[in-house]
Symmetry: C2
Subunit: 414 residues, 2 copies
């Protein structure tokens, strides 16, 4: 058995799930949620083995925490599956359509991609999330998870397969190539014609490798060097809560603030007050020369700070001459994820919205709102920082393609 | 000057065209149309040089014909540009939007990709088509045309640059890397971060190379091994005109019929009559054993015929037991471009529409209708056979991405 033969099995079985109706898919998902709850002990035992192996091999504490499952976390896995059951099935949605002058009726209909590949790191919740999203959107799935979560994932994938099998859907619809290690990941990346789309999730490094090496089309979920620019016209009473929320509400995620740009005319009023608020939240500040003078305790920003995604309680601060310099800074360092301006001037707001090239561009809003749940998508597949196919928070429909149906009664082209 | 520095120039200049308004873009396009007409003599002289060089180097007659420009063909280039002026500008279209429970107003708006790359073969009309489409959709453009059309393309690109310059848009928005030959093509394929999307047009071989080697996301416009399946329930009076139209109306293009599958119960009635019609159109028939007995003059089909896109007056014919065998044959040999069934049975029609995995799936229609113009898109960028981003005939909006605009008044996430 090679990794490629497992991928071929997923492709062969994919028709089963591609054509399954909404009701059958939802029944299998409900079974999966029940199986997760009923088999919590087995899942926890496997997870304990992974954790012991991780601790013995010096896995970072943060990663150990991401890897750890508890009874409560298993319960949330099951509720995440039930939330996906509640979503509308994207398959079969008519996206557009018309009757042509010659009487041909054309309609563009959502269809599953076929087979989705995913390469990700040691987070067992991703295994269940993507499996449930794939089933709901009618796709087969080939997974390569991090080796640190291998035993946990093996149990979870077995439960997914059992849930499918219980409703007459081939369990081969879900495949793991974990046993082949890096060769498994490589096999997915090379499986053009078998795997229709590949989604990497994890470190910037993992995503970069996949984007560069994959022959299969990739949906890139990227890192966020996220900026807020405080314009001279900003309402400073709104500014501090927005900045604190953007930086501290969940600093480890991609939509949290990394660099603050402040107009020189409001710096001396804003920065000392902001500094107090940041200090009380234990945020380390890397400030440019002007900002340093206004923010006691700040360290001096290095050139490299502007290009760093801290994902931690650290913030770069730069004082700029105005919107032109802010736009230049953002164009140079942005990873095109989320950028926000604080301003009360309509023209400045509209210029920022028009000129910033990013997946999400905001006015007077915390950057933490770049999120599928917050956007009302119900479930989130990730946040795309590429421009092809999907950009920004991605809902379930991102896991579908379309096909055109043409209904005629003998039309020929003149 | 390297190919990469030209690509960087296009990227630097791209803001000029990304932010140009509809009226400015249309004025530049009208100037381009006028310049093509006013400079016909210079274009023809350059084209003559390319043709002489091609003839001396044994360029195939078909390719010489595609390369050749005439006064009439230059007039059609100018009218093609004017047709693009008449299209709606996709940039700025609001694709979706809503107000969230917290008062944030989110809207998803079409924006230009930024920089488009194109690698194509010796067809000077493609140069003007894609330049006009790129300008209209607000994109910068990097071109690598076939070396056979190098002198013609150089003149055409000079005229495009002049038209932009006349309206204060940087001419660097359009770049050709032809002078670097294959290295130019390679530079475009490697320019991840500079070029946002790459569209190859030309032979199956050229497209395959680009798809396999490009680090830039590709929109694949593929070849078509197009099938018609004549079901036992088909109206045979409709069948012959549809088959003849699909095969002969323009055999050199990707939506023309290559393989006919016929239900065994109607083969003896359909095939002799069809054979007469095919013979009178000079179509060479490659038939399986059963079909051969019913089609005088047919040669015996080889296994390789089922996998061949003839792009010529040749047709493969196979008699099948029924729809299951037809679906199996199509699943095996289809390039997922266009597939059509001829049937009067509703259930069979719906099953074919649901189960065939192709960009366009038809009932009782000539396959020649898979076309952006016929679908009402006004202009056609090509026909995508991939599933990501675009599938089937592509209109102008395929050259755009979207971004999300978020308008708030101080919202923070709880």
């Amino acid at each position: 058995m090679t990794a490629n033969s497992l991928i071929e099995k997923a492709k062969l079985a994919s028709g089963d799930i591609n054509r399954a109706g909404t009701s059958l898919k939802n029944q299998a998902l409900e079974r999966l949620a029940a199986l997760l709850e009923a088999n919590a002990a087995e899942i926890l035992a496997a997870n304990e083995q992974d954790l012991e192996h991780g601790a013995a091999n010096g896995l970072a504490i943060g990663l150990q925490d991401r890897l750890r499952l508890t009874t409560e976390r298993i319960a949330s896995l099951a509720s995440a599956v039930r939330e996906i059951i509640a979503l509308a099935d994207p398959v079969g949605e008519i996206v557009s359509g018309r009757t042509l002058h010659n009487g041909l009726k054309i309609s563009q209909v959502r269809v599953p991609f076929g087979v989705i590949g995913m390469i990700y790191e040691a987070r067992p919740n991703v295994t269940i999330d993507i499996a449930a999203l794939a089933i709901k959107s009618g796709n087969a799935l080939v997974l390569r998870g991090g080796s640190a979560a291998e035993k946990t994932n093996a149990v979870l994938i077995r439960l997914v397969r059992r849930a499918l099998d219980d409703f007459g859907i081939s369990p081969d619809v879900i495949q793991s190539v974990d046993e082949f290690g890096r060769d498994g990941a490589k096999a997915i990346m090379m499986a053009r014609g078998l795997v229709d789309v590949l989604i990497p999730r994890g470190s910037a490094n993992l995503i970069k490798t996949v984007v560069e090496e994959s022959k299969v089309p990739v949906i890139e979920t990227g890192d966020g060097i996220v900026h807020i620019y405080v314009d001279e016209s900003a309402d400073l009473d709104k500014a501090i809560p927005i900045i604190i929320n953007s930086k501290t509400q969940r600093p480890s995620v991609c939509n949290s603030l990394e660099t603050l740009l402040v107009h020189k005319d409001v710096a001396s009023e804003l920065l000392p007050k902001l500094n107090e608020a940041l200090l009380s939240e234990d945020v380390v500040v890397h400030a440019d020369e002007t900002a340093s003078g206004l923010m006691s305790g700040a360290t001096m920003a290095q050139e490299s700070d502007w290009a760093t995604e801290y994902l931690a309680l650290e913030l770069s601060v730069r004082v700029v001459d105005g919107i032109d310099q802010a736009l230049d800074h953002i164009a140079r360092y942005s990873t095109k994820h989320t950028e926000s301006i604080l301003t009360e001037d309509l023209g400045t707001a509209e210029r920022f919205l028009a000129e910033v090239d990013a997946a999400v561009v905001m006015v007077n809003s915390s950057t933490r709102f770049t999120d599928g749940g917050e956007f009302g998508f119900g479930a989130e597949v990730g946040i795309s920082t590429q421009k092809l196919h999907a950009r920004g928070p991605m809902g379930l429909s991102v896991l579908t393609s379309t096909k055109w149906l043409v209904r005629g009664n003998g039309q020929v082209r003149g």
